[in-house]
């Protein structure tokens, strides 16, 4: 690991100011929250910053507040706190479940919600110091001819990573907003627009510009008559990334869908919203046949690599299972 200078930030403003300053000086600076992800990135030589700005020293950024319209979650709120929060378990169960599916209890006790959303890919080529892949400034994505069994089947190219966040698909399904602070002030955007496809920019996974940091997530209260589903398929039962994850929120009445959100994790470089399936479901009675068709629509256009064809069936069936569990 390369040596670096640590700076304890006391406020969001200070952190943003430092980031902008170092950027202007052409120094590499990075922010750290829980640190569980960041430490590994440094040890793997993926990130080698000159300055590390510690956000944990900013007071009061780890709140979870219930308001009339929804929940406000500070960037530094820990995954374990979200997982165990009584009101979130009551009203946003899929978020609690997704947070609880991340990593291991030790990591959830350190890892923050913003850190979880800003994780770098866990692609074995990207993480290995033996490969300089496209995303690290190299010439190609090694999965194209290499071993891509855990990689993307949707929305990929020229990079085939899958987004590793467990909470992102749940939050996108819930219609969350993300608040970003930067040199020009604060902005709120739908979380869905936060993530970047590699065809737009294969060097980064989200829209954060130098000098910007995530400060808050807002999750609107689900509409009456909504029911959610979260499931993460993985090789072992803890401390593993999703092969396929599905998060759905279905608002229905008498078995007829008013509105459905269907989001997948583990299949694309971003949390993948199955808009065709969502449109198809609107006004439909949810039964075996319509759920199956929605699953098929969700995977329409999937372009698997040679080693990950199995993900298509897995995702279709998991969506079907999720939808049937949502009425």
């Amino acid at each position: 690991m390369k040596s670096f200078e640590n700076i304890d930030a006391k406020s969001v403003k200070e952190a943003v100011g430092l980031l902008s300053k170092f950027h202007q000086q052409k120094k590499l600076a990075a922010v750290v929250g829980g640190g569980s992800e960041f430490l590994q990135l440094m040890k793997d030589h993926v990130v080698e910053p000159d300055y590390v700005i510690n956000l944990k020293t900013i007071p009061g950024l780890d709140y979870i507040r219930e308001e009339r319209g929804g929940f406000r979650i500070g960037a530094l709120a820990k995954l374990a706190d979200i997982e165990e929060h009584a009101a979130i378990r009551d009203k946003l169960l899929i978020l609690a479940a997704a947070a609880g599916d991340a990593a291991s209890p030790q990591i959830r006790n350190a890892g923050t919600i913003a850190g979880n959303l800003c994780q770098r890919p866990f692609c074995w080529y990207f993480r290995s110091s033996n490969f300089t892949c496209l995303r690290k400034g190299g010439q190609s994505c090694f999965t194209v001819t290499g071993d891509g069994r855990f990689h993307a089947i949707l929305g990929a190219g020229p990079s085939y990573i899958v987004h590793p966040s467990d909470t992102a698909p749940a939050l996108v399904a819930l219609g969350a907003q993300i608040k970003i602070a930067g040199p020009a002030g604060e902005k709120n955007i739908p979380l869905e627009k936060f993530f970047l496809l590699p065809s737009v920019d294969y060097r980064r996974e989200n829209i954060l510009n130098p000098g910007e940091i995530v400060t808050e997530i807002f999750v609107p209260m689900p509409k009456a008559g909504s029911k959610g589903f979260h499931h993460k398929l993985r090789e072992r039962q803890a401390w593993d990334h999703a092969i396929v994850a599905v998060d759905t929120i279905v608002e229905s009445s008498g078995g007829v869908v008013r509105n459905a959100h269907v989001v997948m994790g583990g299949v694309a470089p971003i949390p993948w919203r199955a808009t065709k399936a969502e449109e198809f479901l609107r006004g439909k009675k949810l039964d075996e046949a319509s759920a199956k068709q929605a699953g098929e629509l969700a995977l329409e256009g999937a372009k698997p690599l040679k080693d990950n064809v199995y993900k298509i069936k897995l995702a279709q069936e998991l969506i079907q299972r999720g939808l049937l569990a949502s009425v």
Partner: protein, 773 residues
């Protein structure tokens, strides 16, 4: 076998009880010295290794000047510094057919991660920085990763000769396969594959090397201090007594710990640096380059009668050994598993060890036996299903009994029977496999299923049960032991045995205490230091309790006898009338006449009484093998194919158990490793570069606590007539049958038969999808 000089008492005081382990306190309080903990020498500098990014390449240029000029760098070594003495990457298996010689460092690199150069510097960080300053020009060469591809005519040559190590396959047999096939009423043939994996010991290995003039001392994670000493002496052309090797505590041995170039490279660096050097493996290096389990492809062809009995078993395995150190021993252990578990007059094993450009494979707990048992015990279930016989019933009827295999003894009458024989006509010293099967089946609640997989659905998930039997050698090795009795009534034991977490340092003391008749805490010991402890082979191969236990028993018996004889002289009586208690001796029928031990000792050289034993363990009349039967209950998610082990029962026949708690720990640990092997562990290589892809713990998956079921252990304990106090092997067997038991349970649950490890969700799901509903 070795003759014991003392009669075995009918009631044991120390053997068979779970005394407090001698390494326990140091380990749980963090004071135990592991190989990387030797930092006290202020002169110490730190080594790091530069590794090849290519699976096959020639170094056409190498410039170390920038690295050497970096402040804090003490030495850089490349192939130009390597002694011109062939060195086959660590272990004892030397090539038997002409191949290009290899040295400690080489101009030709034969696997991704092969050692290119090493640096010693003031800190690991400086050493790492220096590695980046070494400029290497590579000529990239064609390579081959898969063992079956390597044996095709067009494959690139890995070692300059044929890729079949030894040029001829290993080929051993008993009876006549052709005749057996003719007698068959049906012939079944299947092929099974197993993957590369790493033992992933908790402690990454380290070595510390220090030169005092022409004398070399190496502290390392070693299971074989004398073997390491001999190899170091050979490479550095030193007399053996100029080299000292000391083993620290090992945080897990699992077979692979000392079989790399690490100790030798560290010594070479230290000589060039003129400073003691510490060098170790990172977790990535451990996973990628710490020696793997051989990937294998095994084809079984059986001739059978309608009742399921074998008329012939014809087996062929191809093993992926990487470019160095052909694993003939691994292949032959695979062959033993395949040809000896079921009664069969006609058996043959053909083992092809293939050189490839995959990282080096070596010893890993069980060697070829887990590969063999996955194939054979899956195969047995497939046969049982075809013949509509319950899998348990099939084993009870057809597994080998105490009388051994049919056939004619080949070993000469005055020679020791091999621990992994192929010949028939030799009985086992003990064989409680039937009891293991019966007691295990009872514990898990086995329901006969003669009609094949039941595909039961419980709460929306498939549920099934499977079993596998296991035969494994009790390793028969060479060891020696010195036991000294001191004036205060204590004793000291000297042996070259490593504590790899298995409990050897406790168990050997228990045997000494039992034989001497002293309390356990009166036995002190010095282990694994070539300057102090007598010769022993490697602490490996499930032989320490057996071979070294016999050596301790004999040496302790010898010491006690000498003491009694010396005391008898003073007491003017017969030795068998003398009793020894604490720090005095007395005459049996006049116990009030006591002589202090000190008085006896005064007349002895060095004022101690020493007993000694050197032996090669074994039997001229019997095969000494251990047995086990494992049972798994699994749940399979029909939507994802994911397998979850719900319950596990392991029943073992390892003779007398010396330390029950340690034995249970060995079994539980082996089962967990076996579950990882069965379900998730795998080290895929990038097909374009040959670089291993799962070099960290997020991608190389081993079972978590949550993946680990309750493990119920049954010790079917009956003393073996040959082992020390009746003990047989236990170290490796617990991992051996696990994958097959799980594969068979998955088959019962789903009807799916997975013939390639690991049994991932993907494979199960794909197979489920292709089944007729």
């Amino acid at each position: 076998m070795a003759n014991s000089t003392t009669a075995k008492p009918s009631v044991l005081r120390v053997v068979g009880s779970s005394v407090t382990r001698v390494d326990g306190h140091a380990k749980v309080t963090g004071t135990a010295d592991f190989s990387g903990d030797r930092l006290s020498d202020g002169q110490l500098v730190f080594g790091k290794t530069l590794r090849s990014p290519y699976a096959s390449a020639e170094i056409v240029s190498i410039d170390t000047s920038k690295a050497q000029a970096l402040p804090g760098v003490h030495a850089v070594i490349t192939y130009r510094d390597a002694p011109e003495i062939p060195f086959e990457a660590g272990d004892d298996s030397e090539p038997t057919a002409p191949v290009a010689p290899v040295y400690l460092l080489n101009r030709f690199l034969r696997h991704a991660g092969d050692e290119v150069a090493a640096v010693a510097a003031e800190s690991e960080a400086i050493a790492e920085e220096a590695l980046e300053l070494i400029q290497v020009g590579y000529r990239v060469l064609p390579f081959v990763l898969d063992e079956n591809d390597a044996l095709k005519p067009a494959a690139p040559s890995v070692r300059g000769g044929t890729n079949l190590a030894g040029a001829e396959p290993i080929d051993f047999s008993r009876g006549d396969i052709a005749r057996g096939m003719k007698e068959a009423e049906l012939v079944v043939e299947r092929t099974y594959r197993t993957q590369s994996t790493s033992p992933l010991a908790l402690e990454p290995r380290y070595a510390v090397a220090s030169w005092q003039g022409d004398r070399l001392t190496v502290w390392k994670a070693s299971r074989n201090v004398h073997g390491d000493r001999d190899k170091l002496a050979r490479i550095f052309e030193l007399p053996h007594d100029q080299v000292r090797v000391v083993a620290a505590y090992l945080g897990g041995g699992f077979g692979s710990k000392d079989e790399t170039r690490l100790g030798h490279l560290t010594a070479l660096l230290a000589r060039k640096a003129g400073r003691p050097v510490r060098m170790g493996y990172t977790r990535e290096e451990e996973l990628g380059f710490g020696k793997w389990r051989h990937a294998s492809t095994t084809t079984l062809r059986a001739g059978l009668k309608r009742d399921g009995s074998f008329t012939a078993i014809d087996t062929t395995s191809t093993l992926n050994t990487g470019p160095y150190a052909p694993g003939y021993g691994v292949a032959s252990r695979l062959g033993h598993g395949l040809t000896y578990l079921y009664k069969c007059a006609n058996a043959r094993f053909v083992g092809k060890v293939a050189y490839t450009n995959a990282p080096v494979a070596g010893s890993y707990r069980g060697l070829g036996a887990p590969q063999a048992h996955f194939a054979l015990e899956s195969f047995a279930d497939e046969i049982a299903e075809q013949l509509a016989i319950d899998p348990l019933e099939y084993r009870l009827r057809h597994c080998v009994g105490i009388d051994g295999q049919p056939g004619v003894r080949v070993t000469a009458e005055d020679e020791l029977i091999p621990s992994q024989p192929i010949e028939g006509g030799v009985p086992f010293s003990s064989n409680l496999l039937t009891r293991c099967l019966e007691e295990g089946a009872k514990r898990i609640g086995w329901q006969p299923r003669p009609n094949g997989p039941r595909k039961r659905l419980v709460n929306g998930k498939f549920r099934g049960m499977g079993l596998a039997a296991c035969i494994y050698k009790t390793g028969q090795s060479q060891s020696s032991s010195i036991v000294k009795i001191k004036a205060d009534g204590s004793a000291e034991l000297f042996m070259s045995i490593a504590e790899i977490g298995q409990g050897a340092w406790t168990v050997l003391r228990q045997i000494a205490a039992e034989t001497l008749g002293v309390p356990f805490d009166k036995v002190h010991a010095t282990f694994a230091d070539t300057d102090k402890t007598p010769f022993a082979h490697s602490t490996s191969g499930s032989t320490t309790t057996f071979t070294s236990g016999l050596a301790v028993e004999q040496a302790a018996g010898d010491a006690k006898q000498r003491l009694l004889e010396a005391a008898a002289k003073i007491l003017e009586t017969d030795p068998d009338k003398v009793i020894w208690r604490d720090d005095f001796v007395a005459i049996n029928d006049a116990p009030e006449i006591r002589i202090p031990l000190a008085h006896v000792m005064r007349r002895q050289p060095e004022q101690v009484i020493a007993g000694e034993a050197k032996l090669r363990a074994g039997s001229k009349s019997h095969i000494i093998n251990s047995f086990a039967a494992h049972f798994a209950e699994v749940e399979v998610d029909p939507d994802s194919g994911a397998v979850c082990v719900l319950r596990y029962v392991a029943a073992h026949d390892s003779g007398r158990i010396v330390h029950p708690e340690a034995a249970r720990g060995q079994i539980a640990g082996g089962v967990v490793q076996g579950i990882g092997y069965a379900l998730m562990e795998e080290i895929p290589m990038d097909p374009d570069t040959g670089m291993p892809l799962t070099l960290n713990l997020d991608s190389f998956k081993i079972p978590n606590l949550i993946d680990t079921p309750p493990i119920e252990i049954i010790l079917v304990e009956e003393p073996d007539p040959i082992g020390p106090y009746g003990a047989k092997a236990l170290g490796e067997p617990p991992l051996v049958p696990v994958a097959a038991a799980i594969a068979n349970a998955v088959n019962d649950a789903t009807g799916v038969r997975i013939r390639e490890l690991p049994i991932t969700a993907e494979k199960v799901l794909n197979a489920l999808r292709s089944l007729p509903i």
